[in-house]
């Protein structure tokens, strides 16, 4: 199952990179659009719409990446002050509610996608994009989140049954805000270093 998670991590990483690339592309298209608007008073049309799709797809795929790196925000004021057993209970509670909420969204997202497919919907703009395309990518991202969340749930339940609380924490625990900030700082330092190397 550890291998399954490694695969999931790989996929969600690729999802995040592709999502980011879509956003970068959207930014470039917007710039071209602005340039055309002020030089030959024409626009490509639909740049704003495309960037909206990029955000929807990127965030749907990003949900799982953030879940795997345990970076979804949790308020840990109480969490850090209770006994480890209570903490584990809270971790499960958090994961189960999160999974249920996104599953609820995914369920109804399927309805949105099916509706677009059945009525062959196109966007109400000049590019008349077939909505099925961006919505499918978005929907698959959400489904992937639910799958990853269930995998984490199974793995952490297994760890709980074998009494390995440390592993439960490593899988689904809430990082303290201090640790979170520390990671942020390391990432910043790495990024600035990365730039320094030619």
């Amino acid at each position: 199952m550890g291998r399954l998670q490694a695969i999931a991590e790989g996929i969600s990483r690729v999802g995040a990179i592709v999502g980011g690339a879509l956003l970068l592309l959207a930014a470039l298209v917007i710039c071209v659009d602005i340039t055309l608007r002020y030089t030959i008073s024409k626009t490509l049309g639909g740049a704003d719409e495309l960037s909206g799709y990029a955000l929807a797809i990127a965030s749907a795929w990003g949900f799982s990446a953030a879940l795997l790196s345990r970076s979804h925000i949790r308020i840990d004021t109480v969490y850090v002050r209770v006994r480890p057993r209570v903490r584990v209970a809270l971790d499960f509670l958090s994961l189960i509610t999160f999974t249920s909420f996104i599953a609820l969204i995914t369920w109804h997202a399927w309805g949105v996608l099916r509706q677009s497919y059945v009525s062959n919907s196109h966007s109400l703009s000049e590019i008349e994009a077939p909505l099925v395309v961006p919505q499918s990518l978005w929907f698959v991202g959400l489904v992937f989140f639910v799958a990853v969340a269930l995998l984490l749930l199974v793995r952490s339940l297994h760890a709980l049954l074998t009494g390995d609380l440390a592993k439960v924490f490593a899988l689904i625990g809430s990082k303290s805000a201090v640790a979170e900030a520390e990671e942020e700082v390391r990432a910043t330092e790495r990024a600035m270093d990365e730039g320094r190397r030619p």
């Binding site: 965030s59 925000i73 909420f101 805000a177 910043t188 600035m192």
Partner: protein
């Protein structure tokens, strides 16, 4: 009654360390079950799609990406060095450069954590070289960093604008003068502290301002980006989202010019951007759903009736709201605090007669205060993390005088609302 119960349930759920996004969604589902005849959960699919394809919200990943590129472009370090000769003659030396660098970086960055982290990493090496009072030095970085969300662009203002239907460009205009005044306040705080206790100011740095002139070109890239990103919005050439997109291209150009543009770098930028974006968007989705439920069950009207029933004056409402945020801000993560509460407090404040633009700036100032108020202050954690030694309480101590400057700023905009409203009025 429903209002009070809902707010308490929300705070209990969020306090139980359930992921904030899921917590708000859960409270939405429960409130809907209890008080609304319509099954609003059905709209979650459509709502998530329409929220995440909202063009104004696209500005959020764009500003995050912009920041990630800037980090790797190497402009922050050069900018800091270029500011030093011009400001370090003041009592308090480099601490003024810290504040100024934060303000300048804040005017291209939309995030306080990113501002504190970037300038913090650049400045931290100087702390031992010149024997500054360590807590105060750390305080300037934690507090200076908060300027990131007050001085436009600002991710928090975009979120506030979208959630409360307020114009983002007007919020940007409104943040400008308070941002400038607060920067001066922070510098004055350092000045007063170092005149009162001269040894806090460290060893005098002897720099000739002539040495500063050759360094001035290093200030050009950030100033150029500032002109593009903010200028385009102020002169109505581009929307907030478009200007962020232009910023990305500008930052990429600088990175390429400095020979730092590589595929690995772009890959890391994309990955980091999406991870952060997803975190924010997840909370927004939960909040938008909760917001719909709150409106459907008539919670905001109830709150408004409360004001009329008890004949509360605007000043009383304002005081209550300020205290609510000062208390919440001590223990709640700042972004979640803002997103989970503004759907309730904004209609209340507007009902009491306050302008939603003015209230947006007040909220930002309150969030800034929360960011440097212990025990939970995200910027305190960031600066402590960079320092990598000593205790968190050093940073807390050093930030305390700046909490006072922020409180003073809050009082100032309450007494003279024109500080906020003048610019959006004459330009808009």
């Amino acid at each position: 009654m429903t209002a009070a119960i809902s707010l308490i349930v929300l705070l209990v759920v969020l306090g139980s360390s359930i992921a904030v996004a899921a917590g708000m969604g859960l409270v939405g589902v429960v409130l809907n079950q209890l008080f609304s005849p319509m099954p609003l959960t059905r709209v979650t699919g459509e709502l998530t799609w329409s929220t995440t394809t909202n063009f104004i919200l696209t500005a959020i990943p764009f500003y995050i990406m912009f920041g990630e590129i800037l980090l790797r472009s190497g402009i922050a370090g050069r900018m800091y060095t270029a500011l030093v000769p011009w400001l370090s003659w003041l009592p308090g030396g480099l601490m003024h450069s810290n504040v100024a660098a934060c303000a300048l970086f804040g005017s291209v960055s939309g995030s306080s954590v990113a501002t504190a982290a970037t300038i913090g990493v650049v400045a931290m090496g100087e702390i031992d070289k010149h024997k500054y009072n360590e807590p105060l030095f750390l305080g300037t970085l934690a507090a200076g960093g908060t300027l990131g969300i007050l001085i436009p662009p600002s991710i928090n203002m975009i979120i506030y604008g979208v959630m409360t239907d307020t114009s983002v460009p007007k919020l940007y205009l409104a943040g400008f003068i308070p941002g400038f005044i607060l920067t001066v306040f922070f510098s004055l705080t350092v000045l007063i502290a170092c005149i009162w206790k001269p040894h806090w100011g460290g060893e005098k740095i002897h720099v000739n301002w002539r040495e500063g002139i050759p360094l001035l070109p290093d200030l050009l890239p950030p100033l150029g980006l500032l002109m593009i990103v903010i200028g385009a919005i102020f002169f109505g050439i581009a929307t907030a989202t478009e200007s962020a997109a232009v910023g990305i291209v500008g930052a990429l150009a600088i990175t390429a010019w400095r020979r730092r543009l590589t595929l690995t770098m772009l890959r890391d930028v994309c990955e980091a951007t999406v991870r952060t974006t997803a975190m924010v968007v997840a909370i927004l989705v939960g909040a938008f759903f909760l917001n719909i439920v709150i409106q459907a069950i008539g919670l905001t009207q109830q709150l408004s009736q409360l004001i009329t029933a008890y004949q509360l004056t605007p000043v009383q409402v304002l005081t209550a709201v300020i205290f609510l945020y000062l208390i919440l801000g001590t223990f709640m993560e700042e972004l979640s605090m803002m997103i989970s509460t503004i759907p309730i407090t904004t209609p209340l404040m507007v009902q009491a007669g306050f302008d939603s633009i003015w209230y947006g700036i007040l909220i930002v100032l309150l969030i800034q205060t929360a960011m440097i108020s212990p025990p939970f202050g995200i910027n305190l954690f960031v600066i402590h993390g960079i320092r990598g030694r000593g205790t968190l309480s050093d940073v807390e101590k050093g930030a305390a005088p700046f909490v006072l400057s922020l409180l003073l700023m809050i009082v100032l905009i309450c007494v003279f609302p024109e500080i906020v409203m003048w610019l959006p009025r004459i330009v808009g």
